[in-house]
């Protein structure tokens, strides 16, 4: 069964699959790409179908042609290859579990004797004489039935009496109901007034729950959330005349995170104790490590771990400047583009 033959899909889904498998021509691809840059829903659907396609590939459910297209056009990125590995492991786990469950719930293999148990009894057994214990059993059953019938008759008579009593009670209750209906009318008027008051209270409760939600949101913003990043040597640049800048790392810091944990790795310097400053784009200092940090040296690399408070960290460009512990010599720097969201 091939994915697109028997499995009915919407035109949009078919279009997404065609794009992902590289079946569209350049104009069609351009048009589709411009659409998913603009339409979040289409992009989300494409991401979902991408994963489904990966699952189908991992499960061997793609046609030969689609499988080749998948490998040529789709599977080049390491991220997608990782997803395929996940899908393969997940499929293997689920298939194994299903087989184990099926084995556990299926009946045990039958031996020679137990095979007989499942067979229909031969008809000639009906012709044998009835044993005495069965006759006595039949008599006992008849006596029991007679006793049960008597009990039912007695119970019926009692119920009949109860029914007459209930009818009397009904008449009495009807009279009482007439009296009560007058009270009900009065109560309804009171109820209307109560309803109006309750509506007013409901509005107040809604307002209060909105306030509580806002307060909770505010509180959650102040919880101790930490964003983490690792900046490798490729982002590091030494401060030398004519030296090239390292790569700029885009760092996503959630609005509610109140600190940013940074792990830095760079070519080993001559210093064991270092200081780090966060500089704004205009060169002003946003933050400096309160005390010197001890670098971990591993081979020809050094590592530093620091936690930067994010209270004053807004979206923008920053530099992390590493200096010697006495701040007399610069070791190097990193460039960051911070996006607060």
């Amino acid at each position: 069964m091939e994915r697109n033959d028997r499995h009915q899909r919407s035109e949009e889904e078919a279009g997404i699959i065609a794009y992902l498998l590289g079946r569209l021509n350049e104009t069609e691809s351009d048009h589709f790409e411009q659409r998913y840059l603009k339409e979040p829903d289409l992009f989300a659907e494409m991401m979902e179908i991408e994963d489904e396609l990966i699952d189908d590939y991992a499960a061997g459910a793609l046609s030969k042609e689609d499988r080749l297209r998948f490998e040529q056009h789709f599977l080049q990125s390491p991220e997608r290859r990782k997803k395929v590995t996940f899908a393969m492991v997940m499929t293997e786990r689920a298939v194994r579990l299903k087989n184990e469950t099926e084995r556990a719930t299926s009946p045990a293999p039958a031996g020679k004797d137990t095979k007989q148990q499942g067979k229909v009894l031969p008809f000639n057994r009906l012709r044998r004489p009835v044993p005495a214990w069965r006759q006595w059993g039949a008599i006992a059953a008849a006596v029991l039935i007679a006793i049960a019938a008597g009990a039912v008759w007695l119970r019926n008579r009692q119920l009949h009496r109860e029914l007459i009593a209930a009818r009397d009670a009904e008449i009495h209750l009807r009279e009482q109901a007439k009296q009560d209906s007058a009270h009900v009318e009065q109560s309804q008027t009171l109820l209307e007034n109560e309803k109006q008051r309750s509506n007013v209270l409901e509005t107040k409760v809604r307002d209060l729950s909105d306030q509580v939600r806002m307060l909770r949101e505010q509180a959650s913003r102040t919880t101790n959330l930490v964003a983490k990043i690792f900046m490798g040597a490729e982002y590091f640049s030494r401060i030398t005349r004519g030296g090239s800048e390292g790569k700029v790392m885009t760092v996503r810091v959630p609005r509610k995170a109140n600190s940013l944990s940074v792990q830095l790795e760079f070519a080993a310097s001559a210093f064991e104790e270092l200081s780090v400053a966060v500089l704004r784009a205009d060169g002003s200092t946003l933050w400096v490590t309160p005390s010197n940090l001890k670098a971990q040296t591993k081979g020809n690399k050094q590592r530093l771990v620091l936690t930067i408070p994010t209270a004053n960290l807004v979206s923008g460009n920053y530099k992390l400047l590493i200096t010697s512990g006495d701040k007399q010599e610069s070791v190097g720097r990193y460039s960051l583009k911070v996006v607060r969201f």
Binding site: L37, M47, G60, A61, Q72, H73, V89, M90, N317, R340
Partner: protein, 204 residues
């Protein structure tokens, strides 16, 4: 020798954020969403460093906005797509290594050969087997953390291979009275955090 790329100035970045959203915060959200979509664009074009190229695309957009270029919001995506396409062309021209890699991988995929990923049921070598074992351990650990209904749904979704997989999906959608698209979305929402959990467990 590739030429040094001009870095994005702070005011250019701020202008980009305020162009993308009503406020700086909304702009930051939009920036991240757009960055993700552009990264996917470069992944689909088989570029070597999709995230960096997405950065570069947005940097160029910011430069142009600073230079006074007016971009109609309705045609912004077409404009961004154009910038990304130019960057991709430059990237392929300058990145000989990437070109070679792409040609090689296309050559490897010619004919009926499967790529280096192990097929289900194949016998892996020692290193692959260890890695798979580790992933399976992490998978079990992460599945344990899930709510039971969600875990069973995912396991059922993955419980068949080959063509039976598609049949199972249709059967599940019918049983749950949802469309196949809604089932796909539900599974996607469960699968994404599970994958993150496994990733963190295996490599964290």
């Amino acid at each position: 020798m590739p030429k040094e790329k001009p870095q994005l100035q702070d005011r250019e970045f701020q202008l980009l954020l305020t162009t993308l959203g009503d406020s700086s915060e909304h702009g930051a959200h939009e920036y991240l969403n757009l960055h993700k979509r552009i990264t996917t664009l470069f992944i689909n074009w088989q570029s070597c460093a999709p995230e960096d190229l997405a950065d570069e695309t947005l940097n160029r957009l910011a430069h142009q906005l600073t230079e006074g270029k007016e971009i109609n919001p309705a045609s912004r995506s077409a404009y961004v797509h154009g910038i990304a396409k130019n960057i991709s062309r430059e990237h392929w021209r300058s990145c000989e290594d990437c070109k070679r890699r792409r040609i090689r991988s296309n050559d490897e995929n010619d004919g009926d050969s499967l790529n280096s990923l192990p097929a289900i049921g194949s016998v892996p070598d020692k290193e692959e087997a260890d890695e798979k074992e580790r992933l399976l351990e992490c998978l079990n650990e992460c599945l344990e953390k899930m709510n039971e209904d969600e875990r069973l749904l995912l396991l059922e979704y993955y419980s068949e291979d080959k063509t039976q997989k598609i049949v199972t999906r249709d059967r599940m959608a019918t049983r749950l009275s949802v469309t196949s698209g809604a089932l796909r979305q539900r599974v996607w929402k469960l699968r994404t955090p599970l994958r993150d959990c496994i990733d963190e467990c295996a490599h964290g």
